[in-house]
Amino acid sequence: MIDKRMTIDEIVDQLSDGMTIGIGGWATRRKPMALVRAIARSNLKDLTLVAGYGGPDVGMLAASGKIRKLVFAFVTLDHYPLEPHFRAQRQAGAFEVLELDEGVFHWGLRAAAMKLPFLPTRVGIGTDIIRQAGFDFKMVKSPYADGEEFVAMPAIAPDVALIHAHRSDQRGNLLTLSPDPFFDELLVRASGKAFATVERIVPTAELNMRENNRFNLVERAMITGVAEVPHGAHPTSAAPDYHLDLKHIKAYVDSAATPDAWSEYKAKFIDVPHDAYVAAVGGAATIEAAPAAIY
């Protein structure tokens, strides 16, 4: 019987300096934050982070000095539109960037997922996206009668994808139960390996795939390993299991105020194992009691 169960530390052991790491989720929703914190406290360095839809994952790894290059379309905390750690590090010129449109980002993942070098798109025409230092974009002409010129959006193929889902069995059959799966499926397909943290690992029968098959993110052959990490997306939301913790997001935002504030935040919430983190933010019951955020 296939058994893909791992721990957070075993997943982080699979990562190495200079790797290209893709992170799933969307801004303040379903980010694999327990893994992000584990990377932040590791010795890993010079990472190329592929996080099209960035949130505290990007900010935390930026503040921890892990990023050599960032491939992104935005970084935001939604209720706090400007991510303060990302902002500070970006303004300091701490890492290179390849800035993309959020739609064309998924186009790059799709190209990689289909083993294509690029996909044609109109997105980027007329903008600085195709004129930035981060990548030498090429154009491609339609071979058909229309003869239209397109941007050749290159494949985005991370070495590793990190995502957070709700349920899995030990074989890596996942359920992503949230209202929107975003582009986690394409990220997994685009990447060489894919690791998922999940709220709970359950027997296959309990996944109830007859009813839940539409929430099955991707076939298990694409999943390298799964770690059971309850509340592993906190402080981002993993609805319906728990919602965005705006109180903790505020604490995280406040930690950007001074180097001391950041050291304090890091000591309390990052440089600790996941169980201690959950206790430090008030415990499981507190996390699960947070009301749904309003947009």
């Binding site: 970006r90 303004q91 739609g103 997105v123 903008t127 600085d128 309003i294």
Partner: protein, 266 residues
């Protein structure tokens, strides 16, 4: 009947709603409270076919008020992230967005101020601006009409394509490029001047063309020698806004001190 006591925010909401008058059966996205309330007003009055969302992943039968919700809205469809791009790349969407900078070509920026490699101010990133701009109609709301927003040369990082021949492929504007209205705290403009020059089509009460021009980094066209005044909200519109679209009065917090819409009367 026209109510004479309305706020600048309410005047802007009504002006934003106009962007969607002939939108048809498309997804609309109003970024920020006033564009969002404006889209809601359009939906409840002259543009009932437009589709609004809960700002997450579902289409709603009625506009969802910003802020605290009295009741769960009725949902009418799924607007997953994947589907949003399918819809917008097909052209069936109209967005009313809030750039930080815009230039004479309608090129818009929400990415950085200063050099892209080491910006003076890093903001959100390009988000969906590049794809939006060449796929479907776009309108704009800028709450502070000044030369920092309406810049003299090009915006610092062109996120949204505009009518800039220097960036055209083969001398033609991108096929889907369709910039519509610009609503500000001073006036309403469109791209109806010669060669898509930005043109003032109405002035908010008490504002002159010279006021607008002085606060804009490039020359503006005017729709007529005698520029019309931006239509005041009707009593019916004010009632709908207050009771159904923005019962939490989020609109009152958009402009400092929530000024009156009619600066002549104030």
């Amino acid at each position: 009947m026209t109510d004479t006591s309305y706020s600048l925010a309410e005047l802007v909401i009504v002006a934003c709603a106009e962007a969607f008058r002939d939108a048809g059966e498309v997804m609309v996205t109003g970024i920020g409270p006033l564009p969002r309330i404006g889209a809601g007003l359009a939906k409840l009055t002259f543009a009932p076919d437009i589709q609004t969302t809960d700002s997450e992943s579902l289409y709603t039968s009625e506009p969802v008020p910003p802020g605290k919700r009295q009741a769960e809205p009725e949902f009418e469809g799924w607007a997953s992230y994947d589907r949003v791009f399918s819809a917008l790349w097909s052209g069936k969407r109209h967005a009313l967005v809030g750039p930080v900078q815009i230039d004479r070509y309608g090129q818009a920026n929400i990415s950085v101020i200063g050099d892209h490699r080491k910006p003076k101010a890093a903001m959100l990133g390009a988000r969906g601006f590049p794809g939006n701009s060449i796929s479907h109609p776009n309108s704009f709301f800028l709450p502070s009409h000044n030369k920092r927003a309406f810049v003299e040369s090009e915006v610092d990082f062109v996120c949204m394509a505009g009518y800039n021949p220097a960036r055209y492929l083969n001398g033609k504007p991108p096929a889907g490029l369709d910039l519509r209205l610009i609503v500000t705290n001073l006036c309403v403009m469109d791209f109806g001047g010669p060669d898509h020059q930005i043109r003032v089509i109405s002035l908010h009460p008490g504002v002159t063309f010279e006021d607008v021009q002085e606060n804009t980094g490039f020359p503006l066209a005017r729709i007529a020698d005698d520029i019309p005044t931006t239509p005041a909200p009707t009593a019916e519109q004010l009632e709908l806004i207050a009771t159904r679209i923005d019962p939490n009065n989020v609109r009152a917090g958009v402009f400092k001190d929530n000024p009156a819409g009619n600066r002549k009367a104030a």
